[in-house]
């Protein structure tokens, strides 16, 4: 069974008397271990789709299955729990807590985890992750003392601390220069390849999307291509070559 299975998702916002349909019947499945780029121009509904994928929002109609959980039927508390241990978020503007050390930022999700870990374990796990991302000497630095690339690496470490099944990156390179962007994207590829982590990168930049094996195009609330894996699931694969054939945005 696929990790993510979206079936005919509709999302309509109500602005006053007006109904604004944003997603108009999106169906999408993502296998475990895929690196998917979700591409679309602004206003195409990709942010809304990401919010639904990230369990921050629930669809107006349709079904969303995440690892055998029917997310569209969960209460907001249950969705919070699901976010905590199934999904890691990486944001465009990093969203680190200001005036808080990198270590404390990384440990943040663990304080909401259901199973209580000991302080020592929490600390060890966070330090280990930071070391892995070459941030061992930045553990006690505050975000304002870190470069953009370092901040994004701290954010990725935070996303991974609960060993999630899915990493959702929302324009992860939007605030970074091209060199650091490349670094971060290579990191995603590495994580995907080495640890079979499922990653969805939301972007409007074809250059970013080229790093993914599969690109899902969304326009005006419907998926225009890449809705399912061509040639069936091949978990754990990685390709340096851009595979975004047929994507025009």
């Amino acid at each position: 069974m696929a990790l993510i299975d979206l079936k005919n998702i509709y999302k309509t916002y109500h602005v006053g008397e007006l109904d604004v349909p944003v997603l108009k019947g999106v169906s999408l499945s993502v296998e475990r271990g895929e690196l998917v780029a979700l591409m679309g121009a602004s206003g195409s509904g990709k942010s809304t789709l990401m919010n639904i994928l990230g369990c921050l929002d629930h669809p107006t109609s349709g079904e969303y299955w995440l690892e055998r959980h029917d997310v569209s039927r969960l209460s907001s508390d249950e969705r919070a729990l699901l976010r905590n241990h199934k999904i890691g978020f990486v944001f465009q503007n990093f969203n680190l807590l200001p005036r808080t050390s990198a270590l404390d930022n990384v440990m943040l999700p663990l304080s909401y985890a259901l199973e209580a870990l000991s302080d020592r374990e929490v600390h060890n796990r966070a330090t280990e992750l930071l070391n892995r991302f070459d941030l061992g000497d930045r553990v006690h630095h505050e975000p304002s003392q870190l470069s953009g690339g370092e901040q994004q690496r701290v954010a990725i470490a935070r996303a991974l601390i609960n060993q999630p099944a899915l990493l959702l990156a929302d324009e992860p390179t939007g605030n970074l220069d091209s060199h650091t962007s490349e670094e971060v994207l290579r990191m995603f590829q590495h994580l995907n390849q080495e640890e079979h982590l499922t990653i969805i990168i939301v972007t409007h930049d074809p250059a970013v999307a080229r790093h993914a094996r599969r690109t899902v195009g969304i326009s005006d609330g419907v998926i225009i291509d890449g809705a399912s894996m061509p040639g069936g699931p091949q978990p754990g694969y990685l390709s340096e070559a851009p595979l975004a054939a047929g994507v025009t945005s």
């Binding site: 919010n51 990230g54 921050l56 929002d57 907001s76 508390d77 919070a80 729990l81 976010r83 905590n84 241990h85 978020f89 944001f91 969203n95 807590l97 200001p98 005036r99 808080t100 404390d104 943040l108 999700p109 304080s111 909401y112 985890a113 209580a116 935070r158 609960n162």
Partner: protein
């Protein structure tokens, strides 16, 4: 989420903005210390007021003997001769609610010094305890007579200010001799000025002397001799032998009975009686208890049967005690309401800052929600922050408040009294202020939509 981790998170959040946290706490610090200072000054000054009113006699009880009646003729209050000096001693010894007791024997006669004379309002025969009962112990000059003087019926006295003015006019009174009813008395001391009592009666117009002296040397008989019935029997009364030492101007209308006649017609033994017993209770609140104890004791001592009425009356200063109680209640309430208003203002300050904080940290809230914080986690975090601010403010406020009231005592010499209930109340109030005023901002934070919050600029 573990409790200590919630507290740690809240502390970390507060430490991110220490200046603001401090200023917010300041409101509560001022509020709590105001409550404590007000309560302590209030308590101190109401204790001082109570002492002042008590010195006017609010704690005092006056025990009158009962009423004598003969053949349908009542002789009015105090005419029965039932109170003895031993009653007085027993009251002091056996009633725990009584702090002091003094007998009183009264006379009204002329006082002569040199070429001046005066009839004082009160010539009181009593014991040294009288001054303690009346809260009058600091004398202007000289000293009070002693218990030995009472035992010896010494001819010594202590004067009130009015008498000094009327009789001595500038002369130093201590050590002089004056005459009361032709008996010479040495002045031992002068009482401090007490002024008029509540009825406008001059309390300084007084001579104090040992009650034995007044009873045996000055009046020769008790006040009850104004009654014709007692007066008629007075001639045959062997009340005192001392009075025979001095010329008694009483007319002897009938021949003295001989010893044989006296033996043939035995008269009931007359014991020495006093006119009143003045008692001071331990405190104003102990008055009803003291009355109960005295009543029980005197009924026992006087062998009063259960169906018989008391042969004495006890009066308390109800009017004064009522004033006292209402004064202290009024003062405490007034001060408390002022202090509570300042706490309320502090609480509004907390709410204000917490609301600003929620707005400012919208992104943080969104992030926390996206990494798995439930609405109740956010609510708890902000509530704990507010309560932590209030409790910290409360703790510092207690220290500041106690320090302030200490300084007030030190510098302004105002009386203060440490009040544990005030400290407890301010801790409870500051915690509840935190919960009440922290709840709305925390609730607002928990109701944020994570998507909106994350996008908030």
């Amino acid at each position: 989420m573990k409790v200590y981790r919630i507290i740690k998170t809240a502390m970390r959040a507060l430490r991110r903005n220490p200046m603001r946290a401090m200023l917010t706490t300041l409101g509560i610090i001022i509020g709590v210390s105001a409550v404590i200072v007000m309560m302590e000054i209030g308590k101190g000054s109401s204790a001082a007021i109570q002492r002042t009113i008590a010195s006017m006699g609010a704690n005092n009880l006056l025990i009158h003997p009962g009423t004598a009646a003969s053949g349908g003729v009542s002789f009015g209050a105090g005419s029965a001769m039932t109170l003895t000096p031993q009653d007085c001693d027993a009251i002091l010894r056996e009633c725990p609610a009584v702090s002091n007791a003094a007998p009183e024997v009264q006379a009204r006669t002329q006082v002569v010094y040199g070429n001046r004379n005066w009839v004082p309002m009160q010539i009181n025969g009593t014991t040294p305890a009288y001054l303690e009962v009346r809260d009058w112990t600091n004398l202007d000059m000289g000293e009070m007579f002693s218990d030995l003087d009472v035992r010896n019926a010494s001819k010594v006295c202590v004067l009130g200010q009015t008498l000094v003015r009327e009789l001595f006019s500038g002369e130093f009174p201590v050590g002089r001799e004056l005459r009361i009813n032709n008996v010479s008395f040495r002045v031992l001391g002068v009482l401090s000025a007490k002024g008029a009592n509540m009825m406008g009666r001059d309390q300084d117009d007084i001579i104090l002397a040992p009650w034995t002296t007044i009873k045996y040397r000055v009046t020769g008989t008790s006040l009850t001799n104004v009654n014709q019935s007692s007066a008629s029997s007075g001639t045959s009364s062997p009340v005192n032998t001392l009075s025979k030492l001095y010329p008694n101007e009483k007319l002897i209308l009938y021949p003295e009975p001989s010893a044989i006649q006296a033996a043939n017609t035995p008269l009931p033994v007359r014991f020495t009686n006093v006119d009143h017993i003045l008692v001071s209770a331990e405190s104003t609140v102990a008055i009803p208890l003291a009355i109960k104890q005295i009543t029980q004791l005197l009924r026992e001592r006087h062998r009063t049967l259960p169906h018989q009425p008391d042969d004495f009356n006890i009066r308390d200063m109800t009017e004064m005690t009522k004033t006292l109680a209402s004064t202290s209640v009024l003062m405490t309430n007034l001060l408390l309401s002022v202090a509570l208003i300042s706490l309320l203002v502090g609480g509004v300050g907390i709410m204000n800052i917490m609301l600003v904080s929620v707005t400012e940290r919208t992104r943080e809230i969104g992030l926390r929600m996206s990494v798995g914080a439930r609405a109740r986690d956010i609510l708890r975090q902000f509530l704990v922050e507010a309560v932590a601010l209030c409790l910290a403010g409360g703790a510092i406020g207690i220290v500041v408040g106690c320090g302030c009231s200490y300084l007030v005592t030190l510098i302004l010499q105002w009386p203060t009294q440490t009040s544990l209930p005030a400290i407890l109340a301010s801790v409870i109030v500051s915690a509840s202020v935190g919960i009440i005023f922290g709840f709305y901002p925390a609730w607002k934070a928990s109701k944020l939509d994570p998507i909106e919050a994350l996008r908030y600029e």
